[in-house]
């Protein structure tokens, strides 16, 4: 350890204050602080600090994403081999999936982090860890066969327009990962919907096709999957969102570590279940009578609610606001699914919509606190 430390200190010398590469210090610092928690000590304020920092928080989210990602990689291979009819083992499926998905993750990180580093150097601040999560989320919510250059452009759009334009990590209005998906969805619709994009190689091999459950329903088809298949996730869909089971494991990690807001998650589930239940009662068409329980496990609902809606920057920030925000995400998700067949999946647009309204929700919650205080002042004036 001390050898590595000495080497790093030596390497960092030209980046020190007043040296020739001073401007690029954030870049080398990002690598250094990845290896070591720095030796900085407190100088103002409290003399002792909690062990938690933003890196630890973000890494916890990445750990929570792992079960869904690993299952997603396996499911990519599983969907492919069951369609082609080849015999396969778990490993075959996993290798096929990795061969498709790992390059997407690499492209996402390289493009996104490059832009982040450039902005950090340009603005003279340290590289924020937020992109570690965003960069993994983006490939996880894309269809498997989307070309890598589209991933790259979506990432660039999301980081530049959704994040850096607003001032970087902590300042953005919209969730960057969902912005990337929304961009791809509207810019390249043929690669983002239909029955030729959800299964690996479906666009090149004739016999292979697969529509998502919500897509089938929206097109008026019948669903042939059991509840267990939908819950476990062996269904076509975006890479890592199909398995409600593994998303729930991630949710439990987020809730146990206190990193993800349980208020938002539970609120969303309640909102979606309630509206789904109302539609079940109405039952005018196949989409309406699709059981509210199934609504919770198909499509990106679970994944979106657990990993996207809970993004603390773009969600509501007050505890009361989180309930309202969560419930409305659930409500709008089912409304979009049922009433708008052009968008079979509603969770992406529901979350983006609520991202926009989150500050408004918080405004009213905080305003409630302010009115209470002002009323107290007025009462005090009256009595004196």
């Amino acid at each position: 350890m001390s050898f590595l430390r000495r080497k790093l200190d030596e390497l960092k010398r030209p980046f020190a204050k007043g040296q020739k590469w001073e401007k690029y210090a954030p870049a080398i610092n990002a690598f250094d602080t990845f290896l070591f928690v720095p030796n900085h000590t407190t100088h103002t304020g409290a003399h002792i600090r909690d062990a938690v920092d933003l890196k630890r928080t973000m890494v916890t989210v990445i750990i929570a994403l792992m079960p869904a990602l690993i299952y997603g990689i396996y499911n990519t291979g599983y969907q492919y081999y069951t369609q082609t009819g080849e015999a396969f083992t778990f490993l075959d499926a996993f290798i096929h999936g990795s061969w498709k998905i790992v390059p997407m993750i690499i492209v996402s990180y390289v493009v996104g982090l490059t832009i982040e580093f450039i902005f950090a150097v340009y603005r003279g601040h340290e590289v924020n860890e937020g992109y570690l999560v965003t960069g993994l989320l983006i490939p996880m919510i894309m269809p498997v066969d989307i070309p890598l250059w589209m991933v790259a452009i979506s990432v660039a759009f999301a980081v530049l327009i959704a994040k850096e334009a607003f001032g970087g990590t902590g300042m953005n209005i919209l969730n960057p990962a969902l912005t990337a998906r929304a961009f791809a969805f509207f810019a390249y619709p043929t690669y983002m919907s239909g029955n030729k994009v959800w299964v690996s190689e479906a666009s090149t091999i004739d016999g292979v096709s697969g529509e998502t459950i919500l897509g089938t329903l929206a097109a008026g088809g019948n669903v042939n999957y059991s509840f267990f298949e939908m819950f476990q996730g062996s269904i076509p869909g975006s890479i890592a969102e199909t398995s409600a089971l593994f998303v729930v494991i991630g949710a439990l990690i987020l809730i146990a570590t206190g990193v993800g807001s349980w208020r938002i998650m539970i609120g969303s589930v309640l909102g979606a279940a309630f509206v789904g239940f109302l539609f079940n009662l109405w039952g005018a068409n196949a989409l309406m009578s699709f059981s509210w329980v199934n609504h919770l496990v198909v499509g990106g609902f679970a994944f979106g609610v657990v990993f996207m809606a809970t993004d603390p920057v773009s969600a509501a920030q007050t505890n009361k606001g989180k309930w309202v925000y969560g419930i409305l995400v659930g409500v709008f998700c089912i409304l979009i699914r049922v009433f708008n067949p052009a968008y079979p999946e509603g969770v992406m647009l529901a979350i983006l919509l609520m991202n926009v309204f989150a500050p408004t929700i918080d405004h009213y919650v905080v305003q409630g606190n302010i009115s209470k205080r002002k009323k107290r002042w007025a009462n005090a004036l009256k009595t004196t």
């Binding site: 409290a46 003399h47 970087g168 570590t257 918080d362 606190n369 002002k374 004036l381």
Partner: protein, 450 residues
């Protein structure tokens, strides 16, 4: 008698090095110092020159805007140095002690006292600075009638003192101080005590006893005021620390300014953590001579507790108000992969990304490492968990950063002082310097609103 206050949101951080209940005398201190920075919002005007000889209790400086409020020397001696910083700001007035004279004042018979005469005596003798005023935690304004006066003997900060022990030999003077303070308010003063305290405080007369239960920051007067009878626009509340009540009581018995200070020396670096009897502004070495400290490592010397105290050099002086002096190791070291969840669980953490909650039975070891770097606000909801007031702390911090006075006022800036954000400094993921932001916010309020 008021009902008790029960605090739920907050955290008690159990550190190693709690002071034992032993009271020793400090070793003699050669010099004493007064630091204008101890009196928030005060611009000083010097009343002595370097090289001048002064008596104990003689004025050293006064508040520039209000010459009635004087700050007096805790000892007799020679004004050795007026240490100045940037822009000639006065940092310290150092007085070299000798066995000179002691100023005595004539105190009228207790029965003939009233608000005006008590105010005049406190001002004249230099005991007025013992009284601080909310909002903002500034020097009390002698011309206002406060809504109430708070005395908190519930100390909840890490390694904080036990006031029942600290005051046990001063019961008469404490009672006398309370009686004097009662001249200044219409209702009896509020005395906050630990709900588990026995005897001592229950027998104090002429107070509104407020029992407190719960984790830090339950001992902060802001929290107690907020829960008991919150501060409204244009109202003032005063605050006096328990030992200063004793000092006021002694003044009214003897006619002489009393600068008694009992300090608990605590923290992991201290060899024999204990209580030391000394005088306001004494040299740090005069108390560390008694308690000792581990000098094989670099240490941080803190006037006050680890959350809100001020760093001091080892050859520096005690501050004016604090009953606690903490010494902990510096933390200028690297930790490889220390940012991984569940790594280095010996560092106390309120976050559930650490198993430190399993390790705290014997008390935690802490140092001054930042444990990360400063980042933008990202995580939400964590500040509320350690902030028991009905105030939105993050929104208030953002309003202070933006300098939006109307918003700061509406969100409750009048009800807080920087120390209330000590736990937020400690606990927040992004390492935001919350106390600093609130301090700057309050300075802006004083400048713009007054």
């Amino acid at each position: 008698m008021s009902a008790g206050i029960r605090i739920h949101r907050g955290a008690t951080i159990n550190l190693k090095g709690q002071s034992e209940k032993i009271l020793s005398d400090a070793s003699p201190s050669k010099t004493f110092a007064l630091k204008p920075d101890n009196f928030f919002g005060t611009l000083p005007r010097l009343m002595v020159k370097e090289g001048e000889k002064i008596a104990e209790g003689a004025p050293v400086f006064h508040v520039k805007k209000d010459p009635r409020i004087v700050f007096v020397s805790p000892v007799s001696g020679l004004v050795k140095e007026v240490r100045r910083g940037a822009k000639r700001k006065i940092l310290k007035i150092i007085i070299e002690k000798d066995e000179g004279e002691k100023l005595s004042h004539k105190i009228p018979a207790f029965k003939s006292l009233d608000k005006k005469s008590v105010t005049d005596i406190l001002l004249k003798t230099g005991a007025w600075p013992f009284i601080k005023q909310r909002p903002y935690g500034v020097m009390a304004d002698p011309d206002v009638i406060p809504k109430s006066i708070y005395i908190s003997t519930y100390a909840s900060a890490p390694l904080d003192v036990d006031f029942e022990f600290l005051l046990k030999n001063h019961k008469e003077d404490f009672q006398k101080g309370i009686d004097v303070l009662n001249f200044l308010v219409d209702d009896p003063v509020s005395l906050s005590v630990d709900a588990t305290f026995s005897g001592f405080f229950q027998n104090i007369k002429g107070v509104d006893l407020l029992t407190i239960k719960g984790p830090h920051p339950a001992g902060n007067v802001s929290v107690q005021i907020h829960k008991n009878n919150p501060l409204n626009m244009d109202e003032k509340v005063w605050e006096v620390r328990p030992e200063d009540v004793v000092n006021i009581g002694k003044l009214f018995s003897s006619g002489q300014f009393s600068a008694q200070r009992t300090v608990a020396v605590a923290g992991e670096s201290v060899l024999q953590p204990q209580y030391v009897k000394t005088t306001i502004g004494a040299q740090i070495s005069s108390i560390t001579d008694i308690s000792g400290f581990d000098n094989t490592q670099q240490n941080r010397f803190i006037n006050g507790d680890v959350l809100t105290g001020k760093a001091e050099a080892s050859d520096g002086h005690l501050d004016f108000y604090n009953n606690l002096f903490t010494i902990i190791p510096e933390g200028n070291h690297y930790r490889m992969f220390g940012w991984l969840p569940f790594m280095d669980n010996k560092i106390p953490s309120l976050s559930k990304t650490s198993l430190s909650w399993l390790m705290g039975n014997q008390g935690y070891s802490v140092d001054t490492n930042m444990n990360g770097e400063e980042r933008a606000f990202v995580v939400t909801g964590e500040m509320e968990k350690v902030f028991p007031m009905d105030i939105y702390p993050m929104q208030l911090l953002k309003a202070c950063m933006a300098g939006d006075i109307e918003k700061m006022e509406a969100l409750g800036i009048y009800e807080v002082i920087p120390e209330d954000f000590g736990l937020i400094d400690y606990a927040n993921t992004s390492k935001i310097e919350a106390q600093e932001i609130i301090r700057e916010g309050i300075e802006l309020m004083i400048k713009e609103v007054g």
